[in-house]
């Protein structure tokens, strides 16, 4: 029975967080940058294929182990030298306290399960192989596996590849196991918003979101307890008359047993997850809903985005994972960390785009409101992109840049000396470890770590600040940003 008894100022807490990674090296070629560059120069494909990581390599990759919670972000600073890809973690597990890293064969199984319009035919032998593997997976049901018995012969798949825009699906680099073709009926054959490339992206997003949410439900609460789902991914689900109609959230919840939930999507570029958490906190605090889950699948387009830099440095192509996240926000349970509703920082329309203005709004003003110094926040979680991915392509160390900007404000406000800036970054920041999956990397990868530390009494607070590049849509020159503070739950004190 759901308890809707009145509690006027319900404190919203983060009860659980999950992170999922699908290791999909054979999909790298379909990422936005690789597909465009290979289209112009097909000779790029062989070196791309020869620089793909194996599943074991992806599991042992230290930042991926941090992402699923088997390591702490500061382990990358103190205990594991760079380059991280040359220092794999021995005996590493695909399972972690926050979720798992899944091989592409099994992930294709979930994509097939998500395929309700028969647009993803797969080879019958391959489907049988993965059905056997998924039988052992704790989060796949009998009903799931029944959807995997409708494979077709490889010859039929090869024939369908001759159709315009059909996308081939490979494993192990170049073993053909399926294809994604146009949907049929209702004008889908002519709809430019339902081309196979877009449908593939949406299917992969749904699948990675489903697995993140299933992980969250398995360790946090009942699927039937969830009242509302807030999607916050980068996909655009729609058709020719409604290009960004959305509600991927509900599509994800459908395959997770969330029979009592409805949902909607928050669209705010990379800032969307933190916006969604703030909205979720508001829905809970105002007693509209008891349990709100923020969920997102991965960014398919960003696969292999910086592959040219990795090839130039003869590195493995590290952008070979699709990430999913799920965050459970509920009413105060006396234990879970609290979202401080009086700590919300927002980058306003009139704020201007200078870094100074953004940090002023997201960090300084909320702290002033609470009477806190910058040095009184245990950890800041900002853009947490893995620098090993971004540096070879010349994009620098994004987390470090952001932390030095925050620390500079502490210098300006005389909280620390200029010489203490590096120490501030070390203590209050962290190395980037998130896959460069856009919305995924914006602050939220640290949420699971901070919840764990606060429950263990090892951390008092953390500030989560995210930014969004609205200007990329060519509608406005504006940036965006939003922040909140998470605090240890002091119980009844």
């Amino acid at each position: 029975m759901v308890d809707y008894s009145s509690n006027q100022n319900a404190k919203p807490v983060v009860k659980g967080v999950s992170y999922f990674l699908a290791h999909v090296p054979s999909m790298v070629r379909h990422g936005s940058k690789p597909s465009r560059e290979i289209g112009k120069d097909p000779s790029l494909l062989p070196p791309l294929l020869s620089h793909l990581e194996t599943f074991d390599q992806a599991v042992a990759y230290p930042p991926n182990q941090v992402f699923i919670g088997n390591l702490d972000p500061d382990d990358l600073l103190h205990n594991i030298p760079r380059p991280w890809y040359q220092n794999p973690i021995p005996n590493s597990s695909r399972w972690g306290p926050f979720g798992e890293i899944m091989p592409e064969e099994e992930f294709y199984g979930m994509m097939k399960i998500c395929d309700e319009f028969q647009i993803l035919p797969m080879e019958e032998g391959f489907l049988k192989e993965i059905a056997l593997k998924l039988k052992e997976h704790p989060l796949f049901t009998t009903e799931d596996l029944q959807k995997l018995d409708k494979g077709i012969p490889l010859e039929q798949i090869e024939k369908q590849l001759g159709e315009e825009e059909t996308v081939p699906i490979y494993v192990r680099g170049d073993r053909l196991v399926g294809c994604l073709h146009r949907a049929s009926g209702g004008g889908a054959e002519e709809d430019t918003n339902l081309v196979p490339g877009i449908l593939l992206e949406n299917l992969a997003t749904r699948a990675s979101g489903v697995l993140a949410l299933r992980h969250l439900i398995a360790k946090t609460g009942g699927a039937q307890d969830i009242d509302y789902l807030l999607g916050c991914g980068e996909e655009a689900v729609g058709d020719r008359y409604n290009r960004g109609g959305g509600n991927m959230a509900k599509a994800i919840g459908e395959l997770c047993g969330c029979g009592r939930a409805t949902g909607s999507d928050v669209k705010a570029f990379c800032c969307a997850p933190v916006h969604a958490i703030v909205i979720a906190a508001g829905l809970v605090a105002s007693n509209i809903f008891n349990n709100v889950v923020v969920v997102a699948g991965g960014s398919f387009a960003k696969l292999g985005m910086k592959f040219q830099g990795h090839l130039r440095h003869d590195m493995p192509i590290l952008e070979d994972v699709l990430a999913g996240i799920a965050i459970w926000v509920t009413r105060d349970d006396g234990k879970s960390p609290v979202i401080r509703l009086d700590s919300i920082g927002k980058h306003e329309i009139s704020s201007g785009s200078a870094q100074q203005a953004i940090i002023e709004k997201l960090v300084v003003q909320p702290l002033d409101r609470l009477g806190l110094k910058l040095t009184q926040i245990d950890k800041y979680a900002t853009e947490l992109h893995n620098p090993e991915v971004t540096e070879p392509q010349g994009s620098g160390n994004v987390p470090r840049t952001n932390y030095r900007t925050i620390g500079s404000f502490a210098v300006l406000r005389n909280e620390i000396q200029r010489e203490e800036l590096d120490h501030f970054v070390e203590v209050h920041g962290m190395p980037g470890f998130s896959p460069t999956q856009g919305h995924i990397a914006s602050a939220v990868p640290y949420l699971g770590h901070s919840v764990r530390k606060m429950i263990a009494g090892e951390m008092k607070n953390a500030m989560f600040l995210a930014k969004g590049s609205l200007f990329l849509g060519r509608v406005t020159q504006l940036s965006d940003g939003i922040s909140f503070i998470l605090e240890r739950n002091e119980g009844d004190k």
Binding site: S353, E383, T390, V398, S469, S479
Partner: protein, 42 residues
């Protein structure tokens, strides 16, 4: 470098200095921005 009277192409970076912020500086120096963009590399 004297910017006054010059035409300027501005490319900023989201996590560094964004285009409109550079534009404000350039205009105050008397130059004319002809293209202002902000790149986001992540």
């Amino acid at each position: 470098m004297q910017l006054k009277g010059k035409k300027v192409i501005i490319i900023g970076e989201r996590d560094g200095v964004q285009g409109p912020a550079i534009e404000a500086c350039v205009r105050s120096a008397g130059a004319e921005p002809v293209l202002v963009q902000t790149q986001c590399f992540v």
